[in-house]
């Protein structure tokens, strides 16, 4: 039982248990002792579902990483490959199987495709002549993985690109299926709201899937009141902005998503502080008490929180002087492990905070942030920006440049042709002509495009939805804008308004954002309508199609714990993203392009 999954309103342990059951059944199908050969990418998500202890219960004796050549020797009856449906992995498996069959006593081979089978992969195995060698080939439909008590992700890294660049809606199909699974476990969701083309598709698919099973009625009492489907392209600005919550800054970008992180290592010779030299890996989720407290805070508020905690912990340790009776001493001693864990956690986070501070107080970080905030408030978005020019001249990392120019474009509803041409030329000349493909992609998804009309709706949207809050209080926030020190994420604001007073009040603004907005109702069997108690909160599942940032997650959590908020949020998405990983997924190199 993963304790952190049952905090909060919705017990995501149920989902996890269902996933574990599937896994157990498959393992039992391959009867006898076994060894698992892992696709490395899967170890993270699987770690969230099952620990080694569960696998051991089902006779898993050894675990190996998938690589070429032979599967290492192990005295087991079965070898099971846990892999994603990717062709290059099929070749490796074929190699493994062919060498295995040369052995005097070859072990039985099986494949478990995660999250689903693929015709192309099986065809590849057939071409390699090994398809027949497998006793069981199955798929493990792991669509929605519970990352925390209020967070689910499909970890589909190509979803945004497929939907918005390639017009491929397969990932939406799987999203719909994932939602059907969720409803099977947690009850039919009576109300569905959505904004965006993809949202519309997902809703349509869900309704159609429901119709296909018209006979069976779901008798589970609904846990969710509302489902809100949001297209990522309704709010392209938020993922581009530099995130300022502790969770994000403390993560080493890509490490975040595996729900643990390695300390960024300090450069040698600076500061003279002694910090851990090998990267330390911490399992971080809401189960770690201190982390749960500070993860969603704006970084500027973390220092104060840490010192407060330090005082509390010191005071607790001082208690030993007050313990006089045997009973009191015993009590103190029993608390010790907890206090020591707390102290060690404090030490870790303090080190991390110091590392982050070095970055956030640097001139370049500050300059970058200033320009971002200028764009967000509509300052000079129609001119060539000198800071960006300078960064290009200094050959700063390309992703940084792309994020900034895209931000300017989004805040200006497209750039003047002259300005766009200028940026494009500078970028191509400085970083290479091959990036023309990436620039094309960015234009296709609407991130970096020429102005088509002279009308820029962004200032209107910003004013109506109050996206820029002048005096954002980072220490004791009263509004979601604290996550970006003044900018309230558009997506979260839309969510907030939906709950109260409702989208009818912002019809005009909604029309300015891309894609249709809609509402659907799903019939519940009679007698299952929830009777809400006085003051009981509604539960809304917010599904971000195309990715969600940790800042948006922090903002939604903030809304959940607001005194008279009225709604608690569970967040789901196709992928947990940050600005860097998101823009990277849209980049193309010529080698990857068949020309």
């Amino acid at each position: 039982m993963a304790a952190h999954l049952s905090y909060g309103r919705v017990n995501l342990n149920i989902l996890r248990e269902a996933a574990r059951k599937e896994l157990r059944e498959f393992l039992d199908k391959c009867a006898g002792s076994k060894a698992i050969v892992w696709d490395e990418y899967l170890t993270g998500p699987f770690g969230l579902i099952a620990q080694y202890s569960l696998l051991k219960e089902h006779e898993v004796e050894k675990m190996f990483t998938l690589k070429g050549g032979r599967v290492p020797p192990a005295d087991v009856k079965n070898i099971i490959f846990f892999v994603r449906p990717r062709l290059e992995l099929m070749d490796i498996i074929a190699e493994n199987v062919i060498s295995e069959e040369k052995l005097p006593a070859p072990r039985e081979a099986h494949i478990l495709f995660v999250p689903r089978r693929s015709l192309l992969c099986e065809q590849r195995l057939k071409e390699q002549g090994v398809l027949n060698s497998f006793t069981n080939i199955d798929e493990y439909i792991l669509d929605l993985i519970p990352y925390d008590g209020d967070l689910l992700s499909m970890e589909s890294e190509s979803a945004f690109r497929e939907c918005y660049l390639e017009n491929d809606q397969t990932s939406l199909f799987h999203t719909a299926k994932g939602l059907m699974t969720l409803q099977a476990l947690y009850g039919t969701i009576p109300q569905i709201f959505g904004k965006g083309e993809c949202a519309r598709h997902v809703a349509n698919m869900m309704l159609r899937m429901k119709r296909e099973f018209a006979g069976s009625q779901n008798q589970i009492l609904p846990v969710f009141d509302t489902l809100l489907l949001l297209d990522r392209n309704v709010d392209l600005l938020t993922p581009l902005a530099t995130q300022l919550t502790y969770e994000v800054l403390s993560c080493d970008s890509d490490q975040c998503v595996q729900n643990g992180f390695k300390f960024a290592q300090k450069k040698p010779g600076e500061g003279g502080k002694d910090l851990p030299t090998e990267p330390k890996k911490l399992q971080l989720n809401s189960a770690e008490e201190l982390y749960a407290e500070i993860r969603d805070k704006n970084f500027n508020a973390v220092g104060a929180a840490l010192s407060k905690k330090a005082k509390i912990i010191s005071a607790a340790f001082e208690e030993r002087h007050n313990a006089k009776t045997v009973g009191e001493i015993k009590n103190f001693v029993s608390q010790l492990p907890h206090m020591q864990a707390a102290r060690s956690s404090l030490a870790n986070h303090t080190s991390v905070a110091e590392l982050i501070k070095d970055i956030t107080t640097s001139e370049s970080f500050f300059d970058n942030l200033t320009v971002e905030q200028e764009f967000m408030t509509g300052v000079d978005t129609d001119k060539i920006n000198t800071y960006i020019e300078d960064c290009i001249a200094q050959k700063d990392p390309l992703i940084k440049i792309l994020r900034l120019v895209c931000m300017q474009s989004v805040c200006n509803n497209g750039l003047k042709q002259k300005v766009l041409d200028y940026y494009k030329r500078e970028i191509l000349q400085t970083y290479g002509y091959e990036h023309i493909l990436t620039l094309n992609n960015l234009e296709k998804v609407g991130l970096l495009k020429p102005q088509t009309t002279t009308r820029n709706n962004y200032p209107t949207i910003r004013k109506t939805l109050k996206l820029w809050m002048e005096d954002a209080n980072e220490q004791n926030p009263n509004d979601i804008s604290y996550v970006y020190s003044g900018y309230a994420p558009l997506s979260v604001r839309l969510t907030q308004v939906l709950a109260r007073p409702g989208w009818r009040s912002i019809e005009e603004v909604l029309k300015m954002l891309p894609g249709p907005h809609f509402e659907e109702r799903q019939q519940l069997p009679s007698g299952l309508h929830k009777k809400r108690q006085q003051g009981e909160n509604r539960t809304t599942l917010v599904f971000f199609l195309g990715g969600v940032t940790y800042a948006e997650i922090a903002a939604l959590r903030f809304l959940s714990q607001m005194e008279d908020g009225g709604t608690e949020y569970i967040i789901a998405t196709t992928k947990l993203i940050n600005g860097t990983s998101w823009v990277k997924s849209l980049m193309d190199r010529p080698e990857a392009q068949i020309l």
Binding site: R117, L119, K126, E139, D168, T170, K210, F213, G432
Partner: protein, 366 residues
């Protein structure tokens, strides 16, 4: 059992390349099991479609009645199906459209493979061109199967007019780089011996190429392929970019004279004056990064327009004369006294400050 399996598989997806005896594979390939959504909470029995166990005669009647909708539904659910019955072009296209509207990637790909084998290339491509989603899937399939040739035929470069210019530039640049690389590789000139090349120039961006040219081929006539002047005009590099790049390269080589010439222009009276499309504070920055001596730095610090910036940079880089002069111009006696503490005792600057402080004619403001 095996006989009926083989019989059934012979009326399943028509695989023209099927001259091997992998009949069992056909069966496994097409009927992957999948649970209907919604029965998650029930026992997960992964069973092959029971139809497989029926003898051939029964199955035959079964298949022929399935419409495109039915067929696609069966494919999605992992049940046995047959695509062979869709013979006419119209039927095949209906099948494809139905598959596309179902959104399941595996299903779409399976139908595409069938169509590819059972239609002429011209017609197949033609129909794909007007079906964007199907086309995308097919491109993805070709990429995965590494069928480059087919893909090249299919794809047309989707570049706009402006982008076409960039693409042309790219080719021109590569050609140029190949020529330069061929000569420079031998590394005969003095400069290559003093500063050996760290990497080949091929595939480098244009600005990097320009830098390289300013470093190794500065001063060559515009006629040669490797000269900075030629590169600048061929690739229409802006004055700003050119000066920035040339500055970096010449500063690295400590050719202060060359650096100086970059900023010389003649005004209408014929006098030389200094001009820069980039702020002189940037010039100072770049020079300083290349370890330019103070004598060189101070010439450029003195050209900075913004007084505050000028003062702070002069202090930062210890251009004492400039600082002293500025304080004198600002008539700020206090600061001058403070600054005197920072210069070396008895030095030329020290005496200069003394002189100024002793000057009765200056109306100090403090």
């Amino acid at each position: 059992m095996k006989e009926s399996k083989r019989a059934v598989s012979s009326i399943l997806v028509d695989d023209d390349d099927d001259d091997d005896d992998d009949d069992d594979d056909d069966v496994e390939k097409v009927s992957w099991s999948g649970e209907p959504v919604g029965t998650f909470s029930e026992a997960s029995t992964r069973v092959y479609a029971p139809e497989l166990r029926k003898p051939k005669s029964e199955c035959k009647d079964y298949f022929s009645d399935w419409s495109p909708e039915e067929t696609v539904k069966r494919m999605r659910k992992g049940k046995v199906y047959s695509l062979e019955r869709f013979r006419s072009l119209q039927d095949k296209l209906l099948l494809l459209d139905e598959a596309v509207s179902a959104h399941d990637g595996n299903v779409i790909t399976a139908v595409l493979i069938y169509l590819k084998k059972s239609l002429s290339k011209e017609i197949f491509f033609q129909e794909l061109m007007v079906r964007e989603i199907a086309l995308r899937h097919y491109v993805h399939y070709l990429k995965e199967m590494e069928e480059q040739k087919t893909l090249v035929e299919l794809m047309k470069l989707p570049f706009s007019q402006d982008d076409a210019i960039h693409v042309q530039d790219h080719y021109t640049l590569l050609e140029r780089q190949i020529i330069i690389e061929a000569t420079d590789k031998k590394g005969e000139a003095e400069i290559f011996k003093k500063f050996p090349r760290k990497a080949s120039i091929l595939n480098m961006p244009i600005i990097t190429t320009l830098y390289y040219s300013c470093f190794y081929h500065y001063g060559e006539s515009e006629g040669t392929f490797s000269s900075p002047a030629n590169i600048r005009s061929t690739f229409r590099i802006s004055e700003k970019q050119y000066i920035l790049t040339a500055l970096g390269a010449r500063a690295k080589l400590k050719s202060w004279f060359d650096v100086d010439s970059l900023f010389n222009t003649k005004n209408w009276l014929g006098y030389t004056k200094k001009r820069s499309p980039i702020g002189f504070h940037r010039v100072v920055d770049i020079l300083q990064k290349n370890n330019a001596p103070v004598q060189v730095l101070k010439d450029y610090v003195s050209l900075i327009d913004d007084a505050e910036l000028k003062l702070s940079l002069a202090q930062k880089y210890k251009c004492h004369d400039i600082v002293i002069e500025m304080y004198r111009d600002l008539k700020d006696r206090q600061q001058l006294i403070v600054y005197q503490g920072k210069v070396e005792r008895g030095s030329h600057e020290d005496r200069k400050i003394d002189q100024l402080l002793g000057n009765m004619q200056i109306r100090w403001k403090n």
